[in-house]
Symmetry: C2
Subunit: 702 residues, 2 copies
């Protein structure tokens, strides 16, 4: 399956991109070469290849333009045209131009590792690897490629070396990595604007790829041949996030988010960049079944993480977004002792293990936005008795879930972090939701000179700051659920207490967003944001239109689509986001939220197309039950699902929560039917999804 | 005098910097070439030259490495090694690599133009020019070089062209311009840190050039051959300022200050960059006599500017820095009606035409720093009656000088600008001092989405914002004296109402700076900051040590050095910065400040070495009198000055203000002597300068 690349041909072709100056020379050398003269004696350009284990993906790395470039072919067709590689250092200039391949090492791996929690218990890590050392005669650096069946990853390594002993400090001013996409005008892309004021919280744009200006990753696109690809990165630590800039049409270039002083990355010899990843599949669901991002992260560094607990929670949260309550003190203060106990009663009665409480600490009164320095992370409001609450929680076997909103004033948070986490640990809190609400570029830090600096959420400084909070929390057996986070790049494998994040438009936009999330939003998320990792979307709103069906701000789904989200949008922690009074009115539908687990031994994407629909089946970890979630955009559709994922010979009671025959998100969202039937692996199931509707099914092993 | 560059030799030499891949080929072509084959039929690389009118400076522009590079030789020795040229666009990638010279045009100019005000009336603009069009076969851009006797300038031009019709928007992500300095470890540099929190307000560092990390321009250095050079830029409009980053030792690279979103420059096809300038002289005073920066700016765009008035002023200012007064309201409020009238009386009595008043407007109470939005530019404090004051000023023929402190909240200033300037115009104010006190990177603007953005003082946004205030003021016959400014790049030629700026450590640092300005500070400024243009340093402090000679915060000069500053540090507006009560105690010395003009028909740097000493002679515009100012660093020294700058045959009374025989800045700064003697052009004068002392002389034509 691997195309062959005769070197003289490759060289002659390659020079078409050269200046006339070089071309005229090289044409000559081609002539010499073809006339039989020993080719490499004139030109020492190299082209090396590595293919995926199934040989469907071929990566070519070449220096035949006098610099490293790569190309990717999938099933014999080029999906990434020749694209430049390299880095630029303030102290050393460019590592790229004039660097050629000095030597190459190869290896292959096929291993299976276990996730302490996740979409599946066993993850297969199967790839062929090539590591090339490039040199300009004076200095070396390495480029490492891994070819998996579900895509590729590559990264740069700048080793310590004799030539760098006099430069202990390396400042990266640019990364030259390109992703050159063929036929950009015919390629469909799903993306959000990169480096925007609202961080990652935008509705996804569906355009031809050439319309992208600057996009965050994961950036997902479909080629003219129906190949589905997504560009992202893995293991982002001590480096700036990569945003994609479009230069010439189709040429996406790495744009590292800068520090406030303009430097992109501050590092030193002996560093490794994050992996640049391209997931590749012949259909949309292929992307959903990929473990590539996790496989490119380091194994667990925290040792025994049995204290990291997946679970479900309720909380004092939605009431604030509806303006029934306030974060700040006063008559509508949500975070009171009595209200918290009421939620703990509800949680205990219906089998939730946690109660999130926001607005319990001092600082919420007045204008905290743009001024997070007002927050105390240890002083509770007088009407919030944390001792009494944690005692009460213990008696009910319900945990208090902590909350820290920094409003982007990270120095203020850093200064209080130890005391804040110690306080929570003392009260048995094992999970904290952190918040960094601030405009993009407006994270405030005090630098070493005492000067206020304004950083991006996804610059190197914050990449390190977010991870610092996770490792500090780990020392105290606390898991972190980061909101307004740095995008996920699979670090949950290395730090399993980084249990979830936000990092996209969540449920709260339905309460006050203009516009609220549209029907296709959750039909795009699985193929974009969710490829990065778990999201704390907070599904399960039952009162879909508190201000009436005609109000702009309402949930644009049917009720059963809210149930389907628990299976479709993977997270080890899931909230039942609505107010208790709305659940007790529909206990029949609420039963699914009580039953659905948040930890799985297996997950399978059954069907879907980006922005249209998606269907997942997942098997409960440590049990025989399976669950299915399916949802659609504004278009009603019928799906026929083969149940061959079920255990052969096993009978199941399918508890089906589906849209009623007259259901429609806009006019009739509460029309749902709950029915049961006995099924087995040989059966097929017809699902009928209403406009912005869904189905949620529990397959209870009999 | 011009070295010759045989092309094959040049080509063979040049390829030593190429990758092995290219080198092997080109060595072959060299062989062919030398063996007599038509050279250009194989390689179309070009090297073109342009020399200064006196032929001492030779610029080589070549594409023989397949990209544009330049080199500069001075008197036959290379002072700038081969250095890369180019720009990188988000939409188009690199303009540099793979661009070769397509054609070249040449011209020569020798003209003289007049300054409405300045160091000299007639400025000679004499250069040879070359403009090269570079092309990669698809797109073109131009590089223009001008070679003067006192240095060189070059700039990039990206014309509108067929290939760019589909890209109306061009975002510059990097500029590749290099300045490669030979022998960096043996070259002495005088510089301040680039992009620092304190803007341009640092003591200058004197190090070997290889010690520079990131420096602002003008950055001045002296080679091992004693050649004096300074890198800066001219005509900085609608572009980001250039900071110099050192990569490999000796390789200084343009680092354009970014927007808050990381883009360096937002432009469109048909743009021109500022001139990158290198002033070159065989001695230090050669730099001081250079008009290169002005010559690379556009002629006056404002038409009749007779309303732009040089002059001298006093003001309500130093008292605040000494904590005798406050900017804010209260018992110590400086800007009161009565105090302003008192200053107007003083100004009228001693021949000053302006009175600056700071702290007259609402917003100074409480914490205005980091929060300039509190400032009103039209509401005066109740104890400041602007009507009464402007009336009183008219009766005394003394102008009120306006003041606007923005604290970097430029949107707040922009919103009030029209009303603010109208108000001043109504009251006959013809000069406004603006202030932008904010940490580097902390200029606040509200963007088109209503989001607070934090910009650099020298990014493209502020470059345009500063100029906007100048052109808005011009419409009302108002001149602008910018503090915490964008660095000067000679725009006073194009906008003569941009009458002065700060942009370096001024006198106020002696009141509270830690440390205050040291004795060498004003012996470095003329060779660095002052090469850019006039500075509002505010000299003339007579009470040199209000807290005693042993206090840290005092003026580290003798009294006569304060007088010398009026001649040494050129500005069309000069303040007598001290309190009136300190002048009336020393009316004999104060006489020099009364006499010295601020507008000149000629200026000559007589002697000096960077950081050691400097002596200037200047001829009063519209009169026959000459003035001389000389000052030294901490080392006392004797200077013998030829008076041959005086008009031959004319007799002058030299009114000499000199350090006394026992004067010493540290122990005895008030020891000064005033004496007169009759001199003529054939005489020489011996000057004896004390430690951090100076001499100030008026040559009164008899």
């Amino acid at each position: 399956m691997t195309p062959s690349y005769p070197q003289p041909a490759a060289l002659c072709r390659s020079v078409e991109t050269q200046s006339r100056f070089n071309k005229s020379i090289i044409s000559l050398t081609c002539a010499l070469a073809l006339s039989g003269l020993a080719f490499s004696s004139i030109v020492n350009a190299k082209t090396v290849h590595v293919t995926s284990p199934n040989t469907h993906i071929n990566i070519s790395l070449t220096d035949d333009n006098g610099r490293p470039e790569y190309q990717i072919d999938f099933n014999g067709k080029t999906v990434i045209n020749p694209s430049k590689l390299g880095l630029v250092f303030q102290q050393l200039g460019e590592f790229g131009s004039e660097f050629t391949i000095k030597n190459v090492s190869r290896s292959s791996v096929d291993q299976t590792w276990q996730q302490p929690w996740g979409e599946r218990e066993n993850v297969r890590d199967h790839y062929n690897r090539i590591k090339a050392t490039l040199s300009n005669g004076k200095l070396d650096f390495d480029i490492e490629f891994k070819a998996f069946n579900d895509g590729i990853g590559f990264r740069y390594l700048v080793p310590k070396q004799a030539g760098l002993t006099s430069t202990p400090k390396l400042d990266i001013t640019d990364e030259l990595t390109e992703f050159v996409i063929p036929n950009p005008q015919l390629t469909t892309a799903w993306w959000i604007p990169g480096r925007g004021w609202n961080r990652y919280e935008y509705l996804y744009r569906t355009t031809t790829l050439d319309k992208i200006d600057r996009a965050h990753t994961p950036m997902t696109f479909r080629t003219t041949d129906g190949v589905h690809m997504s560009i992202h990165e893995a293991a982002l630590t001590d480096y700036a996030a990569m945003v994609l800039n479009q230069g010439r049409d189709g040429t996406l270039r790495a744009d590292l988010t800068p520090w406030s002083d303009g430097i992109r990355v501050k590092t030193q010899p002996g560093f490794t960049t994050p992996w640049r990843t391209i997931q590749i599949a012949s259909n949309a669901t292929g992307l959903l079944n990929s473990d590539l991002i996790l496989n490119l992260n380091e194994p667990n560094k925290l040792g025994d993480v049995s204290w990291v607990q997946p679970g479900k929670y309720v909380g004092i949260w939605w009431g604030m977004h509806l303006n029934e309550n306030t974060w700040g003190s006063g008559p509508k203060h949500g975070a009171t002792t009595s209200e918290t106990k009421r939620y703990m009663d509800f949680a205990a009665q219906y089998g939730f293990d946690g109660v999130l409480v926001e607005g319990w600490n001092e600082g919420w009164d007045g204008s905290w936005f743009h001024n997070g320095d007002v927050f105390s992370f240890t002083k509770a409001y007088p009407d919030f008795d944390i001792d009494a609450i944690s005692q009460y929680g213990k008696s009910k076997n319900v945990r208090l879930i902590g909350h820290h909103e920094t409003s982007g004033s990270v120095t203020n948070y850093r200064n209080q972090m130890s005391n804040a986490y110690d306080l929570y640990k003392k009260h048995g809190v094992t999970q904290v939701k952190t918040g960094y609400v601030a405009d993009g570029g407006d994270i405030k830090r005090i630098d070493e000179n005492g000067i206020v600096r304004h950083e991006w959420h996804d610059g190197q400084f914050m990449v390190n700051e977010y991870l610092h909070s996770v490792t500090e929390a780990a020392k105290r057996g606390i898991s972190i659920n980061t909101h307004e986070p740095i995008k996920d790049t699979g670090l949950r494998r290395t730090y399993p207490n980084w249990i979830a994040r936000e990092g996209a438009r969540g449920q709260e936009f339905n309460a006050w967003g203009s516009p609220p999330n549209n029907p296709e939003h959750t039909a795009i998320l699985p193929y974009t944001r969710m490829l990065a990792g778990p999201m704390d979307f907070t599904p399960g709103i039952f009162n879909l239109a508190p201000q009436g069906l005609d109000a702009e701000n309402r949930v644009q789904t049917t009720l059963t689509k809210q149930l389907a989200l628990y299976v479709v949008l993977y997270s080890p922690i899931q909230m039942a986001a609505d107010l208790p009074r709305n659940y007790v009115q529909r206990l029949d539908a609420f039963q699914f939220i009580q039953d659905v687990p948040t930890d799985w031994s297996e997950s399978i994407a059954l069907a879907g197309d980006i922005g249209d629909y998606v269907a997942f089946a997942r098997k409960q970890r440590g049990a025989e039950d399976w669950y299915l979630g399916a949802l659609t955009d504004e278009n009603p559709r019928k799906l026929t699902v083969k149940l061959d994922f079920l255990t052969a010979g096993q009978r199941y009671e399918a508890q089906i929560y589906r849209d009623g025959n007259n259901a429609d998100w806009l006019t009739n969202p509460y029309d749902y039917v709950i029915e049961t039937k006995v099924v087995s692996a040989t059966d097929t199931l017809a699902l009928s999804l209403a406009s912005s509707g869904g189905s949620a099914i529990r397959f209870k092993a009999l």
